[in-house]
Symmetry: C4
Subunit: 276 residues, 4 copies
Amino acid sequence: MEQQKNDSGSRAFIRSVIFGTDTSSGRLFDIGLIVCIIASVFLILLDTIVEVHQEYGEVIRILEWGFTVLFTIEYILRLYSSANPLLYARSFYGIVDLLAILPSFLILLFPGAQFALMIRVFRLFRVFRVLKLLRYLSEGNLLLKAMVHSSRKVFIFFFSVSLIIMVLGSIMYVIEGPENGFSSIPKSIYWTIVTITTVGYGDIIPHTALGQGVASLTMLLGYSIIAIPTGILTAEISNEMGRQRDLRRCSNCSTSGHDAQANYCFECGAELQQEI
Amino acid sequence: MEQQKNDSGSRAFIRSVIFGTDTSSGRLFDIGLIVCIIASVFLILLDTIVEVHQEYGEVIRILEWGFTVLFTIEYILRLYSSANPLLYARSFYGIVDLLAILPSFLILLFPGAQFALMIRVFRLFRVFRVLKLLRYLSEGNLLLKAMVHSSRKVFIFFFSVSLIIMVLGSIMYVIEGPENGFSSIPKSIYWTIVTITTVGYGDIIPHTALGQGVASLTMLLGYSIIAIPTGILTAEISNEMGRQRDLRRCSNCSTSGHDAQANYCFECGAELQQEI
Amino acid sequence: MEQQKNDSGSRAFIRSVIFGTDTSSGRLFDIGLIVCIIASVFLILLDTIVEVHQEYGEVIRILEWGFTVLFTIEYILRLYSSANPLLYARSFYGIVDLLAILPSFLILLFPGAQFALMIRVFRLFRVFRVLKLLRYLSEGNLLLKAMVHSSRKVFIFFFSVSLIIMVLGSIMYVIEGPENGFSSIPKSIYWTIVTITTVGYGDIIPHTALGQGVASLTMLLGYSIIAIPTGILTAEISNEMGRQRDLRRCSNCSTSGHDAQANYCFECGAELQQEI
Amino acid sequence: MEQQKNDSGSRAFIRSVIFGTDTSSGRLFDIGLIVCIIASVFLILLDTIVEVHQEYGEVIRILEWGFTVLFTIEYILRLYSSANPLLYARSFYGIVDLLAILPSFLILLFPGAQFALMIRVFRLFRVFRVLKLLRYLSEGNLLLKAMVHSSRKVFIFFFSVSLIIMVLGSIMYVIEGPENGFSSIPKSIYWTIVTITTVGYGDIIPHTALGQGVASLTMLLGYSIIAIPTGILTAEISNEMGRQRDLRRCSNCSTSGHDAQANYCFECGAELQQEI
């Protein structure tokens, strides 16, 4: 019984350090974790540069293993201290945390798997925990909601654009042909995407007059239709911002219409609380 | 008489399968059709890759003919079962359905016509039939309406831009000349389009200091004027969304102003119907 | 007196044909004029293609002179029939009309001046006269007003961007230097413009790690700041559209708030007149 | 005492000339200063062109020193005549003014420091002093406020995009590898930035089919997500413009809602004052 209680006490303490953001120890842990993630990611980046690898490859390998051991311990502690380990393990962060250590062990079986460690960068989303969490959550939510609301319109847009890209790619294949670098329809479609998104590498370019004409139309099309998803998203973000302003009510005088940035009610001066 | 009735019964059944979207057999048919279209398009793409063509050219040719026969039967059945065959034959889908099979037969006369089969991708617009049709129709209509409403402003914009492109192209031809790759005014205009749309292949580039100056202005112009059609479309989409919200009335309490995403009236809770 | 009257009668007739847009003869003249302008511009374009010039150079030269004579006669008739010749001569169209014929005569003195004839494309703005003029004028005015209203903000934006471009160009010159193609600060600034506008020719590219880092920042900067002029213009166009809707009043019941596209008052059904 | 007064009188006069914008002498000084800054910057630019340096290097060096002496005298006079020298020295303009002369002296110790003189271009922000200052300040403030208000959303956007860029870069490194120019993950990330911002130099391009597929997705991603910051900023600028219109009250009849461009109250016709 005593053991149990003590155990639950240490678990609660670990939980408050690992999952908490209010206490100074919780914040310190989060900051330390972010520093470790950045250092670990940085090492993976550096290790791919030939000169660095030849000089410091061994040191990097040892350090990388150190980080992997650290992250493994952290993952086990998270599972152990979590109120609901299964819920954590299945959450976005739980999966990313697991994927961030797995490749280190897989590398023993499959050499080359170490690059999969780059998935560790997604752990950096924890940065928002150190920053004022709720505010960022609400701003991020607004963006997510606007994207979800506009998803159907954006899907129609991208679906239509995809079909147009396929047809334009085929037309260019027929016009230019393999002798001008358009060696197959899939390659032609790749060129169309490069052109319609205005990237324009210049590795494949039209040589015939007709091909340059169709290419010009493709460019002007790509240049102008970007206005459509931009228009959709702007209208939705604008809507969502108006809606959120309506939702924010002062707990004192229940006036709504406050800015997302406002800290005090413009009517009675009472402090406004952040929405979750 | 009996025969007539029976015939009309089988026609009604075929119609419900081919044109219907409510029954499970109608949905299954649509899904099967989409799978066939995708497979057929995929085959055309693959056949243009030299290695694939040499290895599997014969198999692909046979499969492609199989799809053509399937689509031909489908087209005849559509004509046969349609309430108004002529109306169907003249509709967007009717024309696309015909164009999707014609090139296979034309190829017997003109080799090389098989690439025209890529028009089959447009048949994929039927995807929206499988998805909740009405919703997508209404969202697509909103986009179309916004585009129609802004068409006059966008036309003025593109007309002016075209004239500017032609003049800039001529100026660059005079400045750079054939010795720097600007071999004719049409080619110069092609370069101007590549530059003003910010595609920038790099196949033709200005070499003189003056030419690089004019090119810089062209780039900055292209970089900034994209704001104009975007602004036009955003304002129209925003308008159109507000208008559609006003149009959606609850059939129970006739309150308007519901979101396009809302399923229930926010005033009385009655289910809202989708507009067509 | 009789002569005077007769003269003024023929002048009025010429005026109605040349400047008018309501009568069928006026419309026919405008359409014929546009066809001539397009044909003339097309000839100039074609003449710069070496193969065409060698084959048909003489024919094109004669045709071009024919168009010049035609446009000269038209210009003289415009001056003659105009109610206020000086006002016409000084107007945008008057100046373009003059510039559209001058280079043909200058070529006798300075060979090579014929490319200045490309200024003729600006005469194509007359296209809007053939289309329903007033509508296009009002739509074009809206765009112009929005641009004028946002000009101060856009100026601040482009001024700041110019200074940033100059500083970034200098930094890249110091980092990369002449050995990597950044042969002088002006050339470095040219590269910065190519990069910040996301054109990206690829003729000059950073080779050092530091240079690629600064280049990456330049790209991300250029990619994101385009949002600023777009935001300014969108807000202004949106404003302007709301204002124009408020200005449009029904002459019958004086209700305002009609769409720019509306032809009838939504309140009383009376026909709405187009604003000028 | 007399001396003191006289001194303070000359200081006040110098202050009115150097810092003032209302008097004609103040305006003349500002215009002269801007001309000097432009000339000085222009000289630095020209000096980096090899041909110009060889021919006029000596002349440019002398002129540049002349400008440095002029700007040094001006800086000392600003410090001397300023009401609060420390406040000026610490202000944005004070720091830029100092940085604009320092490199000339540093060059005696470190050759090559002269390019740091390009910081002088930032002195050109004084241009707004010559133009109607208050108006531009208010317009610039609107833009700044909109940017500050949207900064949190834009930060979330760029943070997420950065993580995506790093992961995409790593994936492309694994797919394409050093043999196709993706020599390290940092270089792969550089390529991803070049592609996602639609710059597309074409110096590094994917060669494998899988790599071209991932590249296509990267392009389409970059092409579409630009809509997000644009949408955020547009909504904020729109908001801010509405707010500013509400803030502008007529001092006569206290009607609000005037345009930023309006000079007179639309209700009572009284002149409106510019906000600061």
